[in-house]
């Protein structure tokens, strides 16, 4: 009996020790993501993080894998620049060869009209996702708020929502004039009563009414707001967006007026500024609004606009396989030689005056250091890095620290 009592005691104490080491079911991610309630706690501890939602809305447009996620890691999933490139490839002015590494051939071949393709999915999804972020910000700042900063945040959210609808409306119906009552795209606002699963396409008129109303609100709310980064929207950017909306609606006079207000205080780029590979730095005097893409935002080299558009990347299929983005020679031939833009492409014999100050250094297979200068660059072959440019290859765009840099970061207008 004594034995049994002792055994019981030991048994029970072991169980109790175990039970005190009991499992905590409230687990949290550390590092991979932040849960909603963690986010709220963080905001209490560090109030400056509230602005992060606003920055996040802007950063989204330049985020790698923003649509399909890193799990699917598509090399064409790099945000707004991919949308712009797709639209260019739909047109007759830009083309690119396809040796299996051209992620935008669906656009050149108009396969992007088919809804089972990733490309049109991406170009649709990205704007509605950003509009949702704008809606969330609008919803979180009630009418009663008087704080100037918060109201400016709200103004920016309205402007972004207008930007999003402006970016899709023209692609799903013919132009505004004459088609006002035809179906365009579904409207989703901060209004929680909208059933997103049963939300038919709104008319062109309704979409533009929303765009205009949002921009009018934005312009009012952003009065006097001084932004901290060019990735934000200030009143001038909002005017610029309204100028675009008016253009689309063929309100020519209003468009001109808005454009003038938008441009106030900006100095256009000089001939000198654009007589070399450029268009990668938001600090340029002529840049009004930008997606800021720093090296930290480009952990992977290939899903980035420089990897697809720049002819100077040290690590891209564009250069290595020759998927250069090339101008249509019919258009190129129409550009007068006096026009500074003619130098943005090499000519038929692979020359461009814009390359004068460019040097590209590499180590060849015999371990010798080779430096290419100016017009030596286009025809040069650097094994596994670049093949010769094609006639009419663009030398307009360059990533940060071009040429040769393999990070493929660069801001985007």
């Amino acid at each position: 009996m004594k034995l049994n009592i002792r055994t019981w005691l030991i048994s029970i104490s072991v169980v109790l020790v175990g039970a005190t080491g009991c499992t905590d079911l409230d687990t949290y991610p550390e590092g991979e993501s932040i849960l909603q309630d963690q986010k709220e706690d963080i905001a209490k501890a560090s109030p400056d993080r509230i602005a992060a939602d606003l920055s996040g809305m802007f950063a989204y447009l330049g985020k790698q894998y923003c649509v399909f996620g890193s799990g699917r890691s598509r090399d064409d999933d790099f945000g707004y620049p991919a949308v712009c490139l797709s639209q260019d490839m739909n047109g007759p002015d830009v083309f690119s060869p396809d040796a299996g590494y051209n992620w935008f051939s669906t656009c050149s071949e108009y396969d992007d009209r088919s809804n089972t393709y990733a490309n049109p999915y991406m170009r649709w999804s990205i704007f509605y996702t950003q509009a949702k972020m704008a809606n969330d910000i609008i919803k979180s700042i009630p009418e009663t708020v008087t704080d100037k900063t918060l109201l400016a945040y709200k103004g920016q959210a309205y402007a972004i929502r207008a930007f999003d609808y402006l970016s899709i409306a023209p692609y799903y119906q013919f132009k505004y004039k004459g088609n006002e009552d035809k179906p365009c795209v579904p409207i989703v606002t901060e209004d929680e009563t909208i059933d997103v699963t049963n939300n038919p396409r709104a008319t062109v008129r309704a979409v533009y009414e929303l765009i205009m109303s949002d921009l009018n609100k934005a312009i009012a709310l952003l009065d006097g707001y001084a932004r901290t980064s060019k990735n934000e929207v200030d009143q001038k950017v909002a005017y610029g967006l309204r100028a675009r909306a008016n253009l689309y609606m063929e309100n020519w006079l209003e468009a001109a007026n808005d454009a003038e207000k938008a441009l106030e205080g900006y100095e256009p780029a000089s001939r000198n500024d654009v007589s070399k590979p450029a268009f990668n730095d938001a600090k340029a005097s002529n840049w009004m609004w930008a997606i800021i893409i720093s090296p930290a935002n480009v952990p992977d080299a290939y899903p980035s606009w420089p990897a697809k558009i720049s002819s100077f990347s040290g690590d891209s299929y564009t250069c290595a396989v020759g998927m250069y983005k090339v101008i249509n020679n019919l258009l190129f031939n129409q550009i007068p030689t006096s026009d500074v833009r003619k130098g943005w492409w090499v000519d038929a014999s692979l020359q461009s005056p814009n390359l004068a100050g460019v040097t590209w250094t590499y180590v060849d297979e015999n371990s010798a250091t080779v430096t290419l200068t100016g017009n030596e660059i286009p025809p040069a072959i650097i094994p596994d890095v670049k093949v010769a440019f094609l006639p009419y290859t663009n030398v307009k765009f360059a990533q940060y620290d071009y040429p040769e840099n393999a990070t493929n970061a660069g801001d985007c207008v």
Binding site: P29, S33, S114, G314
Partner: protein, 1064 residues
């Protein structure tokens, strides 16, 4: 050991009953075992109907004296062997060969939280024993399940050494949540890598299939449970087993029948170029001119390479579409010499040595049971830089510390280095050797050759491979890549340290009550180093790059169990179990990449000086806890009932919704114990069993899904500011997916247990599916989906498992086994938004009434006899069978389910005169698969430089109009044009293993103090028969698409080894 123990027993039994009697005779003889022909000591020989008996001695001899002269029959029995009745027939010497009865040894089976006996078990389970496992040469034991257990469906998507098979038990249990079974090793849930378990250490793998068997694993048992039990000591004497084998691995599944003749390729391609013109209105002369100039010009859609020398001024290919008869293979342009290489032979035909050594020492004493083992495996892969090297050690010891206390620990430590080059399973990757060898045209060289024909070396001494741009020619296919050399120069290493341990104490304070504490601690550390070389390939520009990662996983299981067993009035047997269990899993990742490697050969971050390193680290935690109880009752070993209940909570769900209730009920009736069955002597065992139960599934996946209920955000840096974006849309209401299983089955043993088997019907309904509801893109949710519990699935079918001894005469035993499973998978409910029209993808459809593997593609209508173009039905789903040759106009159509009607395995074993032979197959019938690789290889000539399947010879021409292969025409787009044309049968017959062994007679080896010596040769994964040579349907369950199914993954490996097993 067993034999000696039995001698002791038999002495006790029979001493004292050998009285001399009048009118008697004497019968003597020798008793031997059928496996090895060795004398069997301790066998009981009894005269039927009397108490007269004897036991055989150490030499297998028995001596029965005092046998009544009129005695008719001897009953010869021995534990673990089939009891025999032998007619005496006046003989005085009767030799008997005993046949082992594996069924009797297997009476005890491993079940959830304990063991059961075969006759009293009310659930459904299938067991793979160590003998079966040892016939397979698999580094990952999950691959040994193929064809072994009814209801278990396996696929192996990759032959890379160390890769796990994908296991589905009784159908496909979910749409979006996990469909994998739960692995439990020695009672502890296991999330480590199966490769860390040395198959030689495994005693049994038991697959729990129905709710009665696995409902106690409520939280995670919905897709079945695989219990792995490691070995223990047996017998008083230490038993030392040494096993060594040496062999060779090679590619088990070949390429498709692709063109090998460069001339034929050029001719066919030339014709496609020519046709591209004439079919589109050009004159024949223009078409020839175009084909002549375009053939070698990649910018004009040509091939780039010229590998024949043609006399000056003569045409390469004549107007008869034949290569110039004066052409000779090999061409020099003064700088380089070009001649095609056989990529397949160059890449896959290297010989290698597979080695495996295992030693174990095990035994028991009064208080200790021990099993120690050590193993070494070196399994090279079939491509450069791939393979597995594994060192494993295990110590399973328990000790009876007090009468009321037993303590023990099972500890396994494994260190292994898995070299697995990336991309070897990636469709379309220029780094994937398996993809490339099928697809590259037979005209392209692999090496760069100097003008004199010798293979070029660079000044580092590295052989120069042709990257498609390394010479004066440009390769049309796969520009800028040559994985043959990059795989040699790059390094892919993953070193694992895994410690899998269980520590336990068992208290028995009063008779019948056991209190058990189990602590499972499994640690996995994995260090990954990838080095991308800077000499050749995609990382020249970045001057080499490196990826280094450390991953740590720690799983702690705590189980506190009380079990009480009692019998009332001799016939009411009760057993009650109550327990608490918790499981905590912590996963921690730290990784970094950088480029600019100072030393080209060192894959570490400090050797990388690039300015933008990318460094990540994160931790995820997952926890479940639950309370469980089970009651088992049987009435006189005849009627059985059991019920279980489990309440579990998962950290994946919000605290308001995280608890789920699971359980089961089961009944069984051992009919052979009934009086009315007693006269039917050929029935040894007959059991009817019925069960119903509910199990849970919480596993939507890793990453964000560990907190599936919550909205989640990711911070980033935007122009120096904090930025945050939502990355996951959660759902607070999310809770358990539940599966409701019914099982009705019959277990039987007939004809003196020579035929044993099980027939079962199962029905598994999964409800409240954890489902990622597609949300309209316009809702703006990240990923355009939201998790919810909606929809239902049903898997139902039949299984049969038969084992039989076909022939036995004591010296020869021939047995066979067969299992077959038929099931149907049906979606029975979906979210209201998609219920009406289903969820349509580019190749599949999920809809109510259909299966998870229903294909949704255009319906191919053959080839137009007049134009030679592919024809499609316009819209068959809406009854429009109009033909069109415009692919984009044709609508996708429902092409039905593709899961097989029946799958399973069969095999046979023969044991005779010391030899043992076994052969095992697995098979599948009635399913379909999309052959995406074949589709690519049947292009119309629009994919310059891609090889053709030889079937292209049957392409339509004006003379060959009755064909299902469309015309050759390089302007016809055939790229990824999915249709029913490429949906083929997935039937297969796979030869999984052949083993031939010989056990040297004991009297020969005894002299050198060895108790047993067996030599053997074993062939593993020897081949597969399928619809098309090169297609391996074992890689997929069904369905598929242009880019997800076909022949482009790391091929299965065929291994042939010879070995020796020594037992001391």
């Amino acid at each position: 050991m067993k034999k000696r123990f039995a001698i002791f027993l038999s002495c006790l039994l029979f001493v004292g009953i050998q009285f001399a009697q009048a009118q008697t005779v004497r019968i003597t003889g020798t008793i031997t075992g059928s496996e090895d022909g060795m004398p069997l000591p301790g066998v009981s020989v009894v005269v039927k109907g009397t108490t007269i008996g004897a036991a055989s001695d150490a030499n297998g001899k028995y001596d029965l004296s005092g046998v009544p002269a009129d005695a008719q029959t001897l009953v010869v029995s021995y534990l673990g062997y089939v009891t025999q009745e032998i007619g005496i027939g006046g003989r005085s010497e009767i030799n008997v060969v005993m046949v082992s009865d594996s069924k009797q040894i297997d009476e005890v089976i491993v079940v959830a939280y304990g063991t059961s006996t075969k006759s009293s078990f009310t659930g459904s389970a299938g067991t793979v024993k160590t003998e079966q496992l040892q016939k397979r040469q698999v580094s990952n034991v999950s691959n040994a399940l193929a064809g072994q257990v009814a209801g278990v469906q396996t696929t192996s998507s990759s032959g890379q050494p160390g890769t796990s098979a994908t296991i589905r038990i009784r159908g496909i249990g979910s749409i979006n949540a996990s469909r994998d079974p739960l692995y439990v090793v020695d009672g502890v849930p296991f999330d480590g890598s199966i490769s860390s378990l040395n198959p030689q250490d495994i005693e049994t793998m038991t697959v729990l299939k129905d709710a009665a068997a696995n409902a106690l694993y409520g939280a995670r048992g919905a897709n079945g449970v695989i219990l792995i039990t490691t070995k223990k000591g047996k017998g008083k004497d230490a038993r030392i087993v040494v096993d060594a084998k040496w062999g060779n691995s090679s590619r088990a599944v070949p390429n498709y029948d692709v063109m090998k003749d460069p001339a034929l390729y050029y001719e066919t391609f030339y014709k496609a170029l020519y046709n591209g013109k004439v079919y589109n209105g050009s004159s024949s002369a223009d078409a020839y001119a175009h084909a002549d100039t375009a053939l070698f010009n990649t910018d004009a859609g040509g091939l780039g390479y010229k590998v024949y020398t043609v006399p000056v001024g003569e045409k390469f290919i004549g107007t008869n579409f034949k290569l110039n008869p004066n052409a000779t293979l090999g061409y020099s342009d003064g700088t380089y010499y070009y001649t095609p290489d056989d990529w397949y032979d160059e890449l896959f035909n290297s010989s290698n040595l597979r080695q495996e050594y295992n030693v174990s020492i095990s035994g028991t004493s009064d208080k200790i049971n021990y099993y120690f083992s050590a193993g070494y495996l070196d399994e090279p892969g079939i491509v450069s830089g791939s393979g597995l090297k594994r060192y494993s050690g295990r110590s399973n010891v328990d000790y009876q510390a007090k009468k009321w206390l037993k303590i023990g620990a099972n500890i396994g430590y494994t260190n292994y280095d898995q070299k697995a080059p990336t991309s070897q399973n990636t469709w379309g990757s220029s780094g994937n050797l398996f993809y490339i060898t099928n697809n590259i045209a037979p005209i392209y060289p692999m090496y760069v050759r100097n003008a004199d024909g010798s293979i070029k070396k660079d000044n580092r001494g590295i052989t120069v491979y042709d990257f498609g741009n390394s010479t004066n020619f440009k390769r049309a296919f796969m520009a800028l890549a040559n994985p043959a050399i990059t795989l040699k120069l790059d390094k892919y290493s993953r070193i694992y340290d895994e410690l899998n341990s269980k520590w336990y104490a068992v208290f028995t304070p009063i008779d019948g009550l056991t209190l058990t504490t189990n602590i499972g601690a499994n640690v996995l550390n994995r260090r990954t180093n990838y080095l991308y070389n800077q000499f050749y390939g995609g990382n020249v520009g970045s001057k080499g790059s490196v990826y280094v990662a450390h991953y740590r996983q720690m799983a702690i299981t705590q189980q506190y169990m009380a079990n009480y067993k009692r019998t009332f009035a001799d016939i009411h047997n009760f057993e009650i179990l109550a327990a608490y269990e918790s499981y905590d899993l912590k996963m921690q990742q730290l990784d970094g990449t950088n480029n600019m490697l100072y030393s080209p050969f060192v894959g570490e971050l400090n050797n990388a000086v690039g300015l933008d390193p990318d460094v990540n680290s994160y931790t995820n935690t997952y926890a479940v806890q639950g309370y469980l109880a089970r009651i088992q009752y049987d009435y006189d070993g005849k009627y059985f009932a059991s019920a279980s209940y489990r309440r579990d909570a998962s950290s994946r769900f919000h605290s308001d919704n995280r608890w789920g209730n699971f359980g089961s009920m089961a009944l069984a009736w051992l009919i052979n114990k009934e009086e009315f069955l007693k006269p039917i002597t050929w029935v040894d065992m007959l059991k009817l069993k019925v069960s119903y139960g509910v199990q849970g599934n919480d596993d939507l996946g890793g990453g964000y899904y560990y907190y599936a209920y919550a909205d989640q955000y990711e911070p980033s840096n935007s122009d120096g500011q904090f930025a945050i974006t939502q990355v996951y849309k959660g759902n607070k209401d999310l809770t358990w997916e539940t599966s409701h299983s019914t099982n009705i089955g019959v277990d039987f043993e007939l004809f003196k247990s020579r035929l044993t088997g099980t027939v079962e019907y199962f029905n598994r309904k999964t409800k409240d599916l954890l489902y990622l509801q597609p949300t309209p893109n316009s809702a703006g949710f990240p990923g355009d989906e939201k998790p919810m519990n909606v929809g239902a699935l049903e898997n139902k079918g039949f299984e049969i498992d038969l084992n039989g001894v076909i022939f036995t005469n004591g010296k020869i035993e021939w047995s066979a086994n067969l299992n077959a499973t038929h099931y149907t998978n049906e979606i029975t409910d979906l979210h209201p938004d998609v219920k009406e029209n289903g969820i349509k993808g580019s190749s599949r459809i999920l809809e109510v009434g259909g299966s998870i593997y229903d294909v949704y593609m255009r319906k191919f209508a053959g080839v137009s006899e007049t134009t030679g173009k592919s024809l499609y039905y316009l819209d068959p789903d809406n009854g429009d069978y109009t033909l069109t040759d415009d692919y984009s106009k044709a609508k996708q159509a429902r092409l039905g389910g593709t899961l097989p009607d029946v799958y399973g395995g069969f095999g046979t074993q023969v044991k005779a005169y010391g030899f043992d032979f076994s052969i095992q197959f697995s098979y599948q019938l009635g399913g379909r698969l999309y052959d995406g690789s074949y589709e690519a290889l049947m292009h119309n000539g629009n994919a310059a430089g891609r090889n053709w399947h030889v079937d292209i010879k049957n392409a339509w021409t004006p003379e060959n109009t009755k064909t299902d292969v469309p015309r050759l025409c390089n302007l016809d787009d055939s790229e990824q044009k999915q249709s029913s044309r490429f949906l083929v049968s997935s039937n297969y017959l796979s030869l999984n293993s052949i083993v031939l062994g010989y056990t040297v007679p004991e009297n020969l080896v005894k002299k050198i103090n060895i108790s047993s010596l067996r030599v053997y040769v074993a062939g593993d994964n020897l081949g597969v028969l399928s619809k098309r040579r090169g297609l391996d349907p074992r890689q997929y369950f069904g369905g598929g698409s242009s880019t997800t199914t076909g022949n482009f993954s790391y091929s299965a490996m065929k291994t042939i080894s010879a070995g020796v097993t020594l037992t001391f």
